[in-house]
């Protein structure tokens, strides 16, 4: 009974937040220095067409009406037309989403298990070599910027492998040959479904470098949080009780201690989703990966205001939902919340 109440309360607090986000995007829309209609139609367009557009976009109404008109569109899923190619923003974004999801998925696949395992082991074996190396990785992960890492990987991977003739690791784009029959939009999986191993290997080779670049930053965050979570738990009394019961050290660390530390690890993986969405913009621009990150960047550079703000809304909804899922998982795992702690 306590669990659904917890979920409901989390949902309720979500609504004002989402409304707040739409407010921010609306303010940004109003803060555009140039006249949006003129920018949309282009400098040469005749004045009365631009005026008709201004009326269509309710630019002359009072702020409140504009906001309600804006919200009306949003609720109908219409994010307005893109300044760049004049088509609805949503239709631009949707086909590109699977590419980014695939990249983020493989980055997480790389970062989560490695980060968690290193976090646990470095907390258990204090001041041994594994502790120092993982602390070094954690510090590097924070200090090395994702974009620079991507560029460096490109240089060295290409340079060295070329030297030893192994430069088959492609550096750009998702696939050199034609994409497989799109079933899920994930090239790696589609190629498997289509039963074409050659394509799968090629797709996997393409995604390797970008995923490692994106994953490295997340790895540092996850490692650091798991380690501090584990250190705190290992100091608790019940760990000493487990040892007094004669439980083996490995069992104490992985079974008893980690079971409690999963809570802090979960909350951090919610955080890394945000870091992934952000890092994604860099990685996609370096490896020319046409996902939604690259679309967002191009619209920011080319001044596509509506697609810019549309992207912010979609990403925020995705991020907020991800955090909600993580919270619910946290509630389910932790008996204290599930069975009615305060």
């Amino acid at each position: 009974m306590k669990l659904w109440e917890y979920v409901l309360r989390r949902l309720l607090t979500l609504i004002p937040v989402l409304i707040g986000v739409t407010l921010i995007t609306f303010i940004l829309w109003k803060a555009i220095p140039v006249d949006p209609a003129r920018a949309y139609m282009g400098p040469k367009a005749p004045e009365e067409d631009v005026e008709r557009l201004r009326v269509a976009w309710h630019l002359h109404d009072s702020l409140w009406d504009q906001y309600f008109w804006y919200m009306g569109n949003l609720l109908r899923g219409d994010l307005g037309d893109s300044f760049v190619n004049k088509e609805p923003v949503l239709s631009n974004l949707l086909p590109k989403i699977p590419a980014t999801l695939e990249l983020t998925f493989y980055a997480m696949l790389f970062a989560l298990p490695v980060g968690v395992y290193l976090g646990i082991v470095s907390a258990a074996k204090r001041n041994q070599w594994i502790d120092h190396t993982s602390r070094f990785i954690a510090i590097l992960g924070v200090a090395v910027p994702i974009y620079w890492l991507g560029v460096m990987l490109k240089i060295f991977v290409h340079e060295d492998l070329a030297a030893i003739g192994l430069n088959f690791l492609p550096l750009d784009g998702r696939l050199d040959s034609a994409p497989p029959a799109t079933f899920t939009g994930f090239y790696t999986i589609d190629s498997l479904i289509a039963g074409d191993p050659g394509k799968f290997i090629e797709a996997f080779a393409h995604i390797a470098l970008p995923a490692i670049t994106l994953g490295f930053a997340q790895l540092a965050i996850i490692l650091r949080m798991t380690r501090s979570g584990m250190l705190e738990v290992l100091g608790q009394d019940y760990v000493r009780t487990a040892r007094a019961k004669g439980v083996a050290e490995k069992e104490v660390v992985f079974h008893h201690a980690f079971r409690n530390a999963t809570n802090s690890t979960l909350t951090v993986s919610g955080l890394t989703v945000g870091a992934a969405l952000a890092g994604d913009v860099y990685v996609e621009s370096i490896f020319r990966w046409n996902g939604i990150g690259q679309y967002f960047l191009q619209s920011a550079q080319a001044g596509g205001f509506t697609d810019l703000l549309g992207y912010v809304l979609i990403v925020t909804i995705f991020y907020v939902v991800a955090n909600l899922v993580v919270d619910v998982l946290y509630a389910m795992l932790d008996p204290q919340v599930r069975l009615g702690g305060s």
């Binding site: 109440e5 409901l8 309360r9 309720l12 305060s342």
Partner: protein, 472 residues
């Protein structure tokens, strides 16, 4: 004697002057839960307690964890607003008066807290901690003229700076001085706004004679002097120097005057600490020494009543003896009155004149220490006394071991709260709430069974209405 005895309290024993008293005080903390933070129930921490403390005596309040003794302490001190009932201190009702009024009354009522580790501010030296009560209650009559003038000056300067930096926002872009960045004046004005806001705050603080405000103002003007010297704007240097001078002239008013630090040294010596401890930090002291600092702080305003919330339970046996001796010595020399809260019966027996035993938010037995320990009337007191371990192997007490645990304060059992665990419980115990029966010379208890055995209460046919006690 300052306070007359308010007529409404029946003085039922001894001519001793009542200093602190509570009449049927209740404290129910609302428990919020569920979806919309609705009030689900009430934690009835204190549920109808009447208590009287006379001058010069030590009243001990004994009870297990969760019986509400700490909440009672905070109620009597006026820190918490009781849900029902009244608290009188020296005849003045603490609950109804305005906060400023009450704070004035409360200087004669101080409290020593339980955990010596966390009841001292880690960032303050001992001198500031002990002198804080003196500084807070240091208001001589009217605000002196020069302080008022300086306060207004600072306030004006702050407001002026605030207006200037708001204006600066509108100024068009000007190349920033130390770099190629051509940036508008947003950032300097942003910092300007913050600076002037803090000045205004310190001006208001000065007006209300807060010592923190004087220190804040000095820091601000010292900083602005340094900044103005770096950027060498003579006007600014002159203004800040003027302000600093005026602040220093007012120094006597705020910074602890000579006689305050003399008083602090005196207090430290009274509690057995030495002068060189003055400027040390709390984390450099042992548990016992910290509790002495707490006591010194409580003595600062030479109070009449000190409430001690388990002062020795966090200390070792030998340190506990030192603190108990100190408290007894202070009571003899300064004529203090103690309200001593603890769960340790041997400390109660040694130091208390009268004892009140609390269980689940109510007083179940009240009386002189000797009387209670020699002839406990309430079953819970009997169990408590028999359960307490005694440091003498030859005393093989026949232990009454109670079953079950302390009841939850949210849904206390109906009628007498002890009946589920009581071996004397009979029919009316689970229906009626016993009142404090009087067994002679101040020894009162709240138990039907004992009252019935002593003929103070007869069970009527209907078993529901309580029959007035039969005069013995």
């Amino acid at each position: 004697m300052r306070a007359t005895q308010s007529a409404s309290e029946p003085a039922d024993h001894g001519p001793g002057e009542i200093l602190l008293s509570a009449r049927d005080v209740k404290m129910h903390f609302p428990m919020r839960g569920g979806l919309f933070r609705t009030v689900k129930g009430h934690v009835k921490a204190v549920d109808g307690v009447s208590l009287r403390v006379e001058r010069g005596e030590t009243l001990a309040v004994v009870g297990e964890s969760g019986c509400g003794k700490s909440t009672l302490a905070r109620l009597l001190l006026g820190l918490l607003e009781p849900s029902a009932g009244k608290v009188f201190f020296m005849g003045h009702d603490l609950t109804t008066q305005k906060l400023r009024e009450v704070r004035e009354q409360r200087r004669h009522l101080q409290m020593v807290f339980q955990d010596p580790m966390s009841s001292l501010d880690p960032r303050m030296t001992i001198k500031n901690i002990v002198s804080e009560p003196l500084v807070v209650h240091h208001k001589p009559g009217r605000r002196p003229r020069n302080v008022a003038v300086v306060a207004i000056l600072v306030l004006l300067f702050g407001a002026l700076a605030f207006a200037l930096s708001i204006l600066a926002f509108a100024v068009p872009k000007v190349p920033l001085f130390f770099g190629f960045l051509s940036t508008d004046v947003v950032f300097p004005s942003l910092i300007g706004v913050a600076f002037s806001a803090v000045t205004v705050v310190s001006g208001v603080g000065l007006w209300r004679e807060g010592t923190w405000a004087w220190e804040l103002a000095t820091i601000i003007f010292a900083m602005s002097l340094v900044v103005s010297v770096i950027f060498f704007s003579p006007v600014q240097i002159g203004v800040t120097a003027l302000f600093l001078a005026s602040l220093v002239s007012v120094r006597k008013q705020f910074v602890s005057a000579e006689e305050i630090s003399k008083r602090v040294v005196e207090l430290l010596e009274v509690v057995g600490l030495k002068k060189e401890h003055l400027n040390r930090f709390p984390h450099e002291f042992s548990g016992g020494q910290r509790q002495r600092i707490n006591i010194a702080r409580a003595l600062a305003l030479n109070p009449d009543v000190i409430i001690l919330d388990e002062p020795t339970s966090a200390l070792d046996v030998s340190v506990q003896a030192q603190i108990l001796n100190l408290l007894m010595e202070l009571q003899r020399n300064l004529g203090l009155t103690y309200l001593f809260i603890t769960h340790d019966l041997s400390v109660v027996y040694h130091i208390a004149d009268r004892v009140a035993v609390m269980y689940a938010g109510k007083i179940v037995e009240l009386g002189a220490t000797e009387e209670i320990f020699r002839n406990p009337l309430h079953p819970y007191t009997k169990a408590l006394i028999s359960a307490a371990p005694v440091a003498d192997p030859s005393v093989k007490a026949d232990r009454i071991v109670l079953e079950g645990e302390v009841p939850s304060p949210v849904h206390p059992p109906p009628g007498c709260r002890f009946h589920p665990r009581c071996w004397l419980a009979f029919e009316p115990c689970s229906k009626l709430e016993p009142e404090l029966f009087d067994a002679g010379n101040g020894h009162r208890f709240a138990c039907f069974a004992t009252a019935r055995d002593r003929g103070l209460w007869r069970q009527t046919g209907t078993n529901t209405a309580i029959d007035r006690p039969v005069p013995v």
